[in-house]
């Protein structure tokens, strides 16, 4: 079982995007600007911690659009709670944290 850890900034962004209705990986990438190598592993991690769930797109819809069925993610209530905690924490940090080196 993965140990409990606070959510990082990338994770927060991804959960946010899913919550905002970007339901599958490619959409999440577009919304967050994060690379596929971050988005998919994070979604896998969040699913393992039950912060998101996934389901397959209905076959009929997929056939109608002429494409393979997509995997849609949704944020669980537990995930939503964790997300809002993390957002608050990040806001506090944003006030005090020094700017990252090399960007100032």
């Amino acid at each position: 079982m993965p140990r409990k850890r606070a959510l990082g900034a990338a994770t927060v962004a991804i959960l946010r995007a899913v919550q905002d209705g970007h339901r599958f990986g490619l959409d999440v990438m577009d919304a967050t600007g994060l690379p596929s190598g971050t988005v998919y592993p994070t979604l896998a991690r969040m699913e393992a911690r039950s912060f998101v769930e996934s389901e397959w797109e209905a076959d009929a819809d997929a056939k109608a659009a002429g494409r393979p069925a997509r995997r849609y993610y949704t944020v669980t209530p537990e995930g939503a709670r964790e997300l809002s905690e993390a957002v608050q924490r990040l806001a506090v940090l944003a006030g005090v944290a020094p700017r990252p080196a090399g960007q100032g």
């Binding site: 993965p2 599958f24 990986g25 490619l26 690379p35 596929s36 190598g37 971050t38 988005v39 998919y40 592993p41 896998a44 991690r45 393992a48 397959w56 797109e57 494409r67 393979p68 069925a69 997509r70 995997r71």
Partner: protein, 877 residues
């Protein structure tokens, strides 16, 4: 492509997630592809590839989450993280990264270059079928030890009587003067007995090789051409087989062309052969027992060994000794072809490889030192990571990853250097390095460079890695803001610098010995004055039938040359010193006992009257030749001092007589003694030599020497024009006597240059090492220096203190280095001339040179220490 990657990664995904994982990625890829459908092909491929790379990490993450046993995946991910981290940390310290990569590139580049040469020359198999069973067979005797040439009579008997060889063949160097086409050309060629190409296992590209029928006396003349000659001179004519090939004295028929890759075995270490003719066309008597001029090669039967072949051939040679008195004391020597082609050069290359390996070691030590300094600076970082729960192993792995990444970068740059290095090596080839054309940078070499890089990276990162982690790492946090270096760390780094200096001393002394020996070589007096002397060779063909006609041509030509402006003396000679030609004769010296198994011999040359004047060879006693010593006069000779020393020691040579061989009735009277001249090279002892007056012999093939007033170029052109005026079909070749002299020192010069470059690089790297360590130490101790100065210490005393510490390191390194050099110098002995391997002056000079450099390198940081601002230093931190 992307689908292929997906399938590969799918295997890593835990089984109960696999189907879903594949499905998801296919759907996502499909979505991406439809979205990018209107992009250019390149943009689309790039986007899809980049996107797909995430699938690998997704698979890895799933494996980590659901399959904790999957170690491989965990390792792959952590290694990726380490690499990314390393890249970031190198980017933050560009100065360090640049110096480290450059140092490694020099070390790895030099090592890879030398290995390419070693590999091409020594390690690759010879370009023949089953080369291990090919051997050289030579005649040997007490007087001519080693693989001496073989007489045709011996060769015929050997070939007939042996049972241990599948093939035994003979070759002879000849030159063929082609006159077809617009320009006559002299082509270096070989006469070979039948079975030559079959023995080497290389079939002709077109036509056939040399058959037994071609070998018979009176057979129609045929030639086999090299690919190069076929292309260059005959334009790759597809109907070349059957075409007439015209030389000055006969018309050959081309019967075959060898493939482009074929190299004549002896051409592996000498100039290339472009034409092969049967031995029946060489003009040599192929049944004689007197002259020994054939190179014999053979292929052993599959059952035979070198030992059994030697046994059998030795029995045959003993039988021949019984049968023919001229074979008294003649034995047979058999050596593998491989060893014979490589010879001394192999030893030299191994030596250079050793030197270059030392250079790499120095580079390693330098980077290790840089790494140690960097590790000391990063102790806080490591301590923080340890405190936050990073495992020791993880931190070590991180440092090792950094080391290997750095050295792979160095290796990549090194390969670029090696490409250039091999080009330079081939361009500088002094001649005599066999198979230099086989030297290339290819997959083998790249593999070598890769392995060297990885090993190098681990080697220099290991020590810092072992020191970085462990319980003591945490003390760095307690030290407060000061990122200190422990006493043990300082001592270790000082040891590294001392080791580096020791290696540099070894290389410096080695280079010193080479330079010393080379200077002595250059100061050897060849016995003649090569400056401003032009040498030309011209070969008369069969149109000049009689000896009189040939002499007439040469006399007429000499007259023209003598009349040229600026030419002060000119003469012909049958062979020139240091030009490679030698002729030996047995002697019957009046009043000396004849020993059949150990006859008196001397080299001989036929020279024109002005020869001694043209080359400025001093006459020590008696007189030189004059125009009066012609065919009608009494037979005369001039001998050299070595002749007098061996055959008439302490006696008056002028007026004494000798004959050539035991049967020649003609007696020659010595009229003068010439000073010794080096004929073979500048280092071999000078053998007895006889000069005959050319007009008394008739001039057959001749070299013409002309002393000019310094305008060699215009004289050469005038001489070429003079020949063309007399007979435009004759090929001529020019060289200067200085060219012949410098050709004999080309190889030593080449080794000296290479070794010096290595030693200089080592010196530079060692200096950088000393400077880096000392200035780092001084930087660390600024506070201490400040306190000393504040308490009233003189700036000079502080400087002296730092210099003293540097000197202690340097002296330690020098002592170890001198001892090491003394031990290793024995390997150089066979390359040295006129200087011992333990020449004290060279050792002292090497030590002094390096010591001075090391002192200079620590004086700069020491001066900085003396100028430390006391108040600033105290306030720091």
């Amino acid at each position: 492509m992307q689908r292929l990657l997906l399938r590969r990664w799918a295997r890593r995904v835990p089984a109960d997630h696999r189907a879903r994982w594949i499905h998801e990625w296919e759907a996502e890829l499909a979505a991406l592809e439809s979205r990018t459908a209107d992009h250019s092909f390149l943009a689309r491929t790039w986007a899809v590839t980049r996107f797909t790379l995430g699938a690998g990490r997704h698979a890895a993450e799933l494996a980590r989450l659901y399959d904790s046993d999957n170690r491989e995946m965990t390792m792959m991910t952590t290694m990726g993280q380490d690499l990314r981290f390393a890249a970031r940390s190198f980017a933050r310290t560009p100065g360090f990264t640049f110096v480290a990569v450059l140092t490694l590139a020099m070390g790895i580049g030099a090592t890879t270059t030398m290995f390419s040469v070693l590999d091409g020359v020594l390690l690759r198999p010879l370009p023949y079928h089953a080369p291990e069973s090919l051997v050289m067979v030579g005649s040997t005797s007490q007087r001519f030890p080693g693989l001496a040439p073989v007489s045709p009579g011996d060769f015929n008997d050997w070939r007939e009587r042996n049972t241990t060889f599948d093939h035994m063949i003979a070759t002879e160097w000849i030159t063929v003067d082609l006159v077809d086409g617009d320009r006559p050309a002299r082509i270096s060629s070989a006469a070979v007995s039948h079975g030559f190409f079959e023995m080497l296992g290389v079939p002709p590209l077109l036509g056939r090789g040399i058959t037994p029928a071609d070998d018979l006396e009176g057979a129609p003349p045929v030639v086999v051409l090299s690919y190069h000659l076929w292309q260059q001179r005959y334009g790759g004519d597809p109907d070349i087989v059957g075409r007439r090939i015209e030389t000055a004295d006969r018309v050959f028929t081309a019967v075959g062309v060898m493939p482009e890759s074929f190299v004549h075995p002896e051409a592996l270490w000498s100039e290339d052969v472009e034409i092969w003719v049967p031995t029946s066309q060489s003009g040599s008597n192929m049944t004689a027992r007197g002259g020994r001029f054939l190179q014999v090669m053979g292929r052993l039967t599959p059952d035979a060994t070198l030992f059994s072949a030697r046994q059998e051939m030795s029995a045959i040679a003993s039988a021949l000794e019984e049968e023919y008195p001229t074979n008294a004391g003649r034995q047979v020597l058999i050596e593998p072809l491989r060893g014979e082609t490589i010879g001394d050069v192999g030893q030299a290359l191994v030596l250079l490889m050793g030197a270059v390996a030392m250079l790499l070691l120095i580079a390693c030590v330098n980077v290790a030192n840089l790494f140690m300094a960097r590790a000391a600076d990063r102790r806080r970082e490591m301590a923080v990571r340890t405190a936050l729960g990073a495992a020791d192993g993880r931190i070590r792995a991180q440092l090792l990853t950094e080391g290997v990444a750095l050295s792979l970068a160095g290796g990549a740059a090194g390969i670029v250097l090696a490409y250039m290095g091999v080009g330079v090596f081939r361009a500088l080839n002094p001649g005599g390095i066999p198979r230099i054309d086989a030297v290339v940078v290819d997959a083998r070499i790249l593999a070598f460079a890769f392995i060297v890089s990885v090993v190098t990276g681990i080697a220099f990162a290991l020590a810092p890695a072992l020191r970085a982690a462990g319980p003591s790492a945490l003390t760095a946090l307690r030290d407060g803001a000061r990122s200190g270096t422990g006493v043990a760390g300082v001592r270790f780094r000082n040891t590294l610098v001392a080791a580096e200096l020791a290696l540099a001393v070894v290389l410096l002394v080695g280079a010193g010995l080479f330079v010393n020996s080379f200077l002595r070589l250059q100061n050897v007096d060849p016995g003649f004055d090569p400056a401003d002397v032009v040498a030309m060779s011209v070969t008369l063909n069969d149109r000049y039938e009689t000896s009189e006609e040939r002499t007439l041509f040469h006399d007429g030509f000499l007259e023209r040359v003598a009349a040229l402006p600026g030419v002060s003396a000119t003469a012909y000679a049958s062979a020139l010193p240091l030009a490679g030609d030698r002729y030996l004769t047995a002697l019957n010296i009046e009043g000396r006992e004849v020993d059949a198994s150990n006859p008196d011999v001397a080299e001989y040359t036929m020279v024109g009257a002005d020869y001694f004047a043209a080359l400025r060879i001093e006459i020590a006693a008696g007189r030189a030749f004059t125009v009066l010593d012609d065919a009608g006069a009494a037979r005369v000779a001039v001998v050299n001092e070595a002749f007098v020393r061996r055959y008439w020691p302490g006696e008056e040579p002028v007026g004494r007589r000798f004959a050539m061989g035991r049967t020649d009735p003609e007696w020659y009277t010595v009229v003068g003694v010439a000073e010794d001249v080096h004929r073979v090279d500048l280092t071999s002892p000078i053998e007895p030599e006889i000069y005959f007056s050319a007009p008394q012999w008739g001039v057959e093939t001749a070299q013409v020497v002309a002393r000019t007033d310094g305008r060699n170029g215009s004289t050469i052109e005038a001489m070429r024009a003079a020949v063309a005026e007399m007979d435009p079909t004759l090929p001529v070749e020019f060289e200067t006597m200085e060219g012949y002299v410098s050709a004999t020192v080309n190889q030593p010069q080449f080794y000296t240059q290479l070794f010096s470059v290595f030693a200089f690089t080592a010196l530079l790297l060692a200096a950088v090492g000393v400077y880096g360590t000392m200035s780092y130490t001084v930087g660390q101790r600024t506070r201490e220096m400040g306190i000393r100065l504040a308490l009233g210490a003189e700036a000079s005393a502080v400087t002296a203190m730092v210099v003293r510490q540097g000197a202690a390191i340097a002296i330690g390194g020098l002592i170890v280095g001198l001892l090491g050099a003394g031990t290793l110098a024995r390997l150089l002995e066979s390359f040295l001339f006129g200087v011992g391997a333990h020449d004290p002056v060279t050792y002292a000079a090497g030590a002094l040179f390096l010591g001075t450099t090391a002192m200079l390198a620590c004086w700069i940081p020491a001066r900085r220490a003396g100028r430390a601002d006391p108040m600033g230093a105290l306030r720091a931190d």
